[in-house]
């Protein structure tokens, strides 16, 4: 039994200790917004926040989660409102098939939390571990810049 915080709620999960967080989320907690893409941390589709930092959930075992805090794509809405990053994604019409976008949005959210005004180079560094086979890369970059602008306006206000 491993107890950890998931999207602000404490939960206990009973499963083999080597079960990756990805499958704990999907098969034990029914949180399917986090996606399976490669299983070896090569594509970024399964990215979630572990204690606030982006990680590939396919490569974090359940045994490493005791007492820690996990946030997934499902946590980003606040009182039904999309987060600034989600809203920027929607307005920029980033998604095509959309399968990689949960992971992309989780990494972009973490990037902007640490660096509210990233340069193109910094965006590339933070996002290059993510694969998008639909090729939405230009709009991902655009959406991150848009979210950064919005966040800067929020700070001013």
């Amino acid at each position: 039994m491993v107890t950890f915080t998931i999207n602000g709620e404490q939960r206990s999960v009973s499963a083999e200790e080597d079960t990756p967080l990805l499958w704990v989320l999907r098969d034990h907690l029914q949180l399917t917004g986090t996606k399976f893409g490669c299983g070896i941390a090569q594509c970024g589709a399964c990215t979630v926040h572990l204690d606030g930092k982006p990680v590939r959930s396919c490569s974090v075992p359940l045994s490493a989660l005791e007492g820690r805090s996990v946030d997934t794509i499902e946590s980003l809405r606040n009182n039904q409102q999309l987060s600034v990053v989600q809203q920027a994604w929607l307005e920029t019409d980033v998604a095509q098939c959309g399968y990689c976008q949960s992971g992309q949005i989780m990494s972009a959210t973490a990037l902007l939390a640490e660096n509210p005004s990233p340069s193109d180079e910094e965006i590339t560094q933070a996002m290059n571990g993510h694969v998008c086979r639909c090729g939405t890369y230009p709009r991902i970059r655009k959406a991150i810049h848009l979210a950064a602008e919005r966040l800067a306006q929020e700070v001013k206000a």
Partner: protein, 732 residues
């Protein structure tokens, strides 16, 4: 959560005809692009629109959404004629029945970049007929003339009296007055469009930023168990014997059994199934493909390319012209590898088999074929196989499997189980799946006239056929040749393809060899034959331009002088790409053009090459003419993204087979394009009043020859075997 996911639960037409007074509007749907259809004119009675008393409007969608934007354009078309917000429409997946088959294909199939074009009239007609019935109802209710009524925001208005009634309210009047759909209806003039032609965000976009979108892999049914399959190391191999003792002792494992695809482990969770699968000890019969290798394919195909093939096209007398050209004949051979689709969402399928039939939940482009293959396997009537269609995490052709490999295996795994079974493929299984863009060799010979223009062209195409022996054989196989292997190198329209290359070369000969069907399953890959015919054609055309001392773009302008649409695309490209403005040292341009699914497209690239062969793609200019641009925002995304898929493939895409075994396994060795390598892209959509034509696949091909041509312009080295990473050129 929102309601933009089509329900994961199937619908039954009779059930909702009876339910709650909801009404289906039937629309007689003319077949569009009849010249493209293999079956000629097909008029089907389709039912696309449901309006409920609460005024909710539901589109019954008969095309799949895998990133292509089908749901967006379909809802836009319906909303335009019904005068409602397209985002207010709800969507249900149409059942797999002939009345919902594509009139173009005569099957339930989303493919070929034809969704927008083939639904353009049927869906607008469905909306317009529904509107006409609602107006007739309001006219009867208020005893006024129909010409005094207008529609907006889901209501019929009588401006003179200020009366209005919602569509939902008018359903009772339609029923009471027995109002029938009109025989014919006038569609809106484009000048009156408020939705079509305007940039529109993705219909299901919100569900794709909050994690609520339901893909096939996300389907959860009560008591569902998970399956992982141990597949043969060589495509087509068979299980001889297996020891499951260790696997069966592992937590959660329910059962281990042999199916045609291999050995399947059923367990309570996917992780348990996968771990136990990896502990199986299996003895395989490696079968007939055990000695196959891609290097041997290349050698065999090169030898075949030297032999006369089946004659696909013979305009003028190319052989004599080339023979008389003597030493000045230009000759090259182009070699294109196997390509995996590597969709972001690995293949998966949920199946439940009961005494009454079978249900599957599966992301698929090709419902009618899945249904047919599964019904044949189970020995039950086709209508007993019910297909539910969640969203798809990409497809690029992989989910139009003619073997229905990933759906029928789930049914086989679920057969005899009293619970639903979900089979999920690992990425490794996906890359090694054996379904690939076939490997092709193209041998090209040509000669020039006194002005340095192409005088004769002779192309011999060698590769495995996509259609041979399939149920499409009668339409696509002509005199033994697969037109689906030749699309893109035939100068004139042929058979099911209503367009040629758009170029005019006075002597033009194309021959075809169907290579033996061994080693893998040939599978459509975004833009299909163009992925090889286009690369060979456009690279060799640049070779001829160079030999003739002509600018490659000027040569294409000359060759398309009698093809106004492509000519205009090329003229625009020349201007937008600043083609005639020199670039600095180490930099070069290249370009290519293609016509696919009727739409012409051209791309020009700017690259920077280092001495060690590392190169960057700095800018890509795309010009496309896809007829009336239904959703410019969606088109721009398809062109950018289609180009990106092609760029990754030309840079490093390849699957190698050695002694029958696929060498690549995951994204670390089957490299795909990433953000750092993505160029700046400009998309120019030419204004047009022509009916809309394809745009989903067009951009995937030209990027490859454009890059190869730019590399030649920068370095003088001609790449004739792909991908570029095998030739010392690395995209960084």
């Amino acid at each position: 959560m929102n309601d933009k996911n089509p329900s994961a639960v199937g619908i039954d037409r009779r059930a909702f005809m009876k339910a709650g007074g909801a009404l289906l509007f039937a629309a007689q749907c003319p077949a569009t692009f009849a010249t493209q259809t293999a079956r000629g004119e097909t008029a089907l009675l389709n039912s696309f629109v449901k309006i409920a008393p609460d005024n909710s409007i539901t589109l019954i969608a008969n095309h799949s959404e895998f990133g292509n934007g089908a749901y967006t354009v379909m809802s836009m078309m319906l909303a335009e004629e019904l005068d409602v917000d397209y985002q207010s429409i709800q969507l249900e997946d149409a059942p797999t029945r002939p009345e919902y088959y594509s009139p173009l294909f005569g099957e339930y199939l989303t493919a070929g970049s034809v969704t927008t074009g083939s639904t353009w009239l049927p869906l607008r007609t469905a909306g317009a007929k529904a509107r006409a019935m609602l107006i007739a109802a309001a006219a009867a209710l208020w005893t006024v003339d129909t010409t005094t009524l207008t529609t907006r925001d889901g209501k019929v208005h009588h401006e003179a009296s200020g009366k209005s009634a919602s569509y939902g309210e008018l359903l009772a009047v339609i029923a009471a007055q027995s109002i029938e759909p009109p025989e014919s209806v006038t569609l809106k003039d484009p000048s009156a469009f408020t939705i079509l032609g305007k940039p529109a965000r993705r219909f299901e976009g919100e569900s794709k930023v909050d994690g609520s979108a339901i893909y096939g892999i996300d389907v959860k049914l009560p008591n569902m168990v998970y399956g992982a399959i141990a597949r043969p190391p060589v495509y087509g191999g068979k299980v001889v014997d297996f020891d499951a003792a260790e696997a069966l002792a592992m937590p959660g494992v329910i059962k281990v059994k042999v199916i045609r695809a291999g050995v399947v482990v059923l367990a309570k969770t996917y992780w348990q199934a996968k771990k136990a699968r990896d502990k199986l000890a299996i003895t395989w019969d490696r079968g007939a493909n055990a000695t196959v290798s891609t290097e041997q394919f290349y050698a065999d195909y090169r030898a075949l390319a030297d032999q006369p093939g089946l004659l696909a096209e013979d305009i003028g007398d190319a052989l004599s012209a080339i023979q008389s050209a003597g030493d000045s004949v230009i000759e090259s051979t182009y070699e294109l590898p196997l390509l995996a689709h590597a969709t972001m969402e690995p293949l998966n399928c949920v199946a439940r088999v009961t005494d009454d039939g079978c249900e599957i939940w599966s992301g698929t482009q090709y419902q009618s074929n899945d249904q047919e293959v599964i019904s044949r396997f189970l020995g039950i009537a086709q209508e007993k196989v019910v297909i539910h269609r969640p969203l798809m995490g990409g497809s690029f052709g992989r989910r139009s499997s003619k073997t229905a490999d990933y759906t029928v295996e789930a049914v086989e795994a679920a057969l005899g189980e009293d619970v639903p079974v979900q089979i999920i493929w690992s990425r490794e299984e996906d890359i090694k799946s054996g379904h690939y863009r076939p490997l092709f060799v193209h041998k090209l010979r040509a000669c020039l006239d006194e002005q340095g223009l192409p005088k004769a062209w002779h192309q011999t195409v060698v590769g495995q056929s996509l259609m041979q022996g399939s149920k499409h054989d009668p339409a696509y196989m002509v005199r033994g040749m697969d037109l689906y292997s030749l699309d893109g190198c035939l100068q004139e329209p042929f058979g099911v393809f209503p367009y040629g290359t758009s170029y005019q070369i006075p002597n033009h000969r194309v021959e075809s060899h169907n290579a033996p069907r061994v080693g893998f399953v040939p599978q459509e890959w975004r833009s299909v034959a163009h992925t090889h015919t286009g690369v060979a054609y456009e690279c060799f055309l640049d070779e001829l331009a160079h030999a003739g001392g002509m600018d490659p773009l000027e040569l294409r302008l000359h060759l398309t002088r009698e093809h106004p649409r492509m000519h205009r695309v090329l003229q625009t490209l020349k201007e937008k790409a600043q083609w005639d403005t020199p670039l600095g040292a180490g930099r070069a341009r290249g370009m290519a053009s293609r016509i696919y699914s009727v739409s012409p497209i051209a791309q020009a690239v700017e690259i920077t090459v280092k001495e060690n062969g590392d190169f960057t793609v700095d800018r890509v200019v795309c010009v496309v003419d896809c007829g009336f641009a239904v959703n410019p925002l969606g088109i721009e995304g398809q062109v950018e993204g289609g180009m990106a898929l092609g760029l990754g493939a030309v840079a490093f895409g390849k699957v190698d087979i050695v002694a029958g075994e696929v060498q690549q396994s995951n994204f670390h060795d089957y490299s795909v394009l990433r953000l750092a390598q993505m160029p700046v892209v400009e998309v120019h959509i030419l204004p047009s009043d022509e009916p809309p034509t394809g745009v989903g696949e067009q951009a995937t091909t030209p990027i490859a020859p454009a890059i190869a041509n730019a590399l030649f312009n920068a370095t003088g080295k001609r790449v004739r075997r792909f991908p570029l990473s095998t030739q010392g050129f690395n995209l960084v």
